[in-house]
Symmetry: C2
Subunit: 323 residues, 2 copies
């Protein structure tokens, strides 16, 4: 690694002058400017960002905490964060928390040590690690509750309500909702959306529960179809659950969408991989990541956010599992 000192020597000037050239501040004569620039090129000098960080207490890095990159929801989100951060000259450090508060704390410490300029975190669980006193700009993604932190979420309640209404409007008479885990905020919101769509409408409905995992969904589906008959519409709390129920239904010879209609939630890419293709409530995942990142950068740059809650709209994508 070539240092600023070497550049200075080679150019026959002081390090201060080189520094001025790099940072384009202070006075530098045209002549020395050219000279220094050419030496920088010649030596392929790149300022050491560690040293810079030490001085500025800033790193041009954004820390991103997600539960698990292996969960299909997050790669796109992470990608959006990276892309936008990149555009503004920030780098991203990505960490998987596994919803484990200890791991989360560990990463937060890491971030502080590394002088990250800001943090975006996505954690669907409701137990709150302490984010308030860490004195770094922060934005929450897909999380509600902590009303003091600027948040970007999609409208889970409304999306779920619309999805349920779609099923009813398509003629479903006996509807089921397979809800997600109780301690996960979006799952809760979707449940309420469903309830508010069916309550008082004179339709039969039933509620089951499954984890956001294929294996568990399949297991629950097996049980479900044995104990429930006559169900002709299911709204699942996410696409993974929907995929599990669809699979089991097909295996049992149930005709989809003729005899059973299914709607998922998320707009995961794999919804198009399966056949019939999954009708789903699509979240603007990439946009959510992009909005959150822009918001964070704004705060980093010293501007106050205009509002604390950014609710992003969901859209229904009608595909093969509804008529």
């Amino acid at each position: 690694m070539v240092t600023i000192k070497e550049v200075a020597e080679e150019a026959g000037v002081s390090v201060a002058t080189v520094s001025r050239v790099i940072n384009q501040n202070g006075y530098v004569s045209e002549e020395t400017l050219e000279k220094v620039k050419s030496v920088i090129d010649k030596l392929n000098y790149k300022p050491n960002s560690i040293a810079r960080s030490l001085y500025h207490k800033t790193s041009n890095m954004i820390g991103l905490i997600i539960p698990d990159i292996t969960n299909p929801f997050f790669p796109e989100l992470a990608r959006a964060v990276e892309d936008v951060a990149m555009m503004y000259g920030f780098k991203v450090v990505l960490c998987n928390s596994d919803q484990n508060p200890e791991k989360e704390m560990k990463y937060l410490d890491l971030f502080k040590e590394k002088y990250v300029d800001g943090i975006i975190f996505t954690t669907q669980s409701q137990e709150s690690t302490v984010y308030s006193d860490l004195n770094v700009p922060i934005v929450a993604l897909d999380r509600i509750g902590d009303t003091t932190i600027p948040s970007v979420v999609s409208n889970n309640y409304k999306g779920a309500k619309k999805a349920t209404e779609l099923l009813l409007q398509k003629g479903v008479k006996n509807i089921a909702h397979i809800r997600g885990p109780k301690n996960i905020a979006p799952s809760e919101a979707r449940y309420h959306g469903f309830i508010d769509a069916v309550e008082g409408k004179g339709v039969n409905y039933t509620i089951s529960e499954a984890e956001f995992q294929l294996k568990d969904a399949e297991r629950k589906a097996e049980q479900f179809f044995e104990t429930h008959t006559g169900i002709d519409g299911i709204f699942c709390s996410n696409d993974t659950i929907a995929a599990g129920f669809l699979k089991v239904a097909l295996k049992k010879g149930i005709k989809v969408p003729e005899d059973l209609q299914i709607v998922g939630f998320d707009g995961s890419f794999f919804g198009e991989f399966i056949y019939p293709e999954l009708t789903t409530v699509s979240q603007p995942i990439y946009d959510m990541g992009a909005v959150a990142t822009r918001l964070l950068i704004k705060i980093i740059q010293g501007n106050q956010p205009e509002k604390l809650l950014y609710e992003m709209p969901t859209t229904i994508i009608e595909r093969g599992t509804t008529r």
Copy 2:
């Protein structure tokens, strides 16, 4: 952020002593040890890793370059790298190169600036950015060609051969291979595996090509089924292509696996999401990431790798798309 100096003052000792306590080297009397430790706890002092990096020219960070985290192959890989790195006290910076050499170079510069201790890169294209002269321990994942760099790959050739032989053994008479792009090494290796399995065996075979993307695969599948009749077995270069072909086949009312058998490659998670479940050649993705990371850390710690090429075995997972 509380600094070593503040701890020293509070404890009534010099920074040198505090440093000794933190790093557990040099002599410190039992008494001062206790004193300093308690102050560290009380002030919740964490050594600043930027300052450490500056001194040590080391960062406890590993740089990971992948083409695109949005491609289902990579999240698991990234996860493995992170998990193993974590176990050894390293952090991971993840970057998406989009197979773009410029972006790659940019990240490599970033890594050098940040004193990363080592780099793992995965790039399926064969054009080689210059990795040799960057003077940082490096390991290649899923890439062949540059024989000077320690590499971890799965046995694409052998897996493809086995997959093809499986189809033949299941009674397939008219077999097709949908190969991946020509400039991607694994796709090339799988092609050769297929060829070597069918050549001279007296079976009819045909070759088509598709991108590793669902939309393109579907388009190619539409064309394929129109121009080819009597095909009763297809080996696809990856699971995404297989998913596309399966979808179109089902749409056309072709019975799978009765009239058409399909085998994919990768062992992507979504193979279980579709119905019938995809028979596939599974790569030990997580293990590949883990092995590469351990290898890298070994090199970082100054040990020479025993060999330059680590070939990981593939396994066939027979599921619903074969009889």
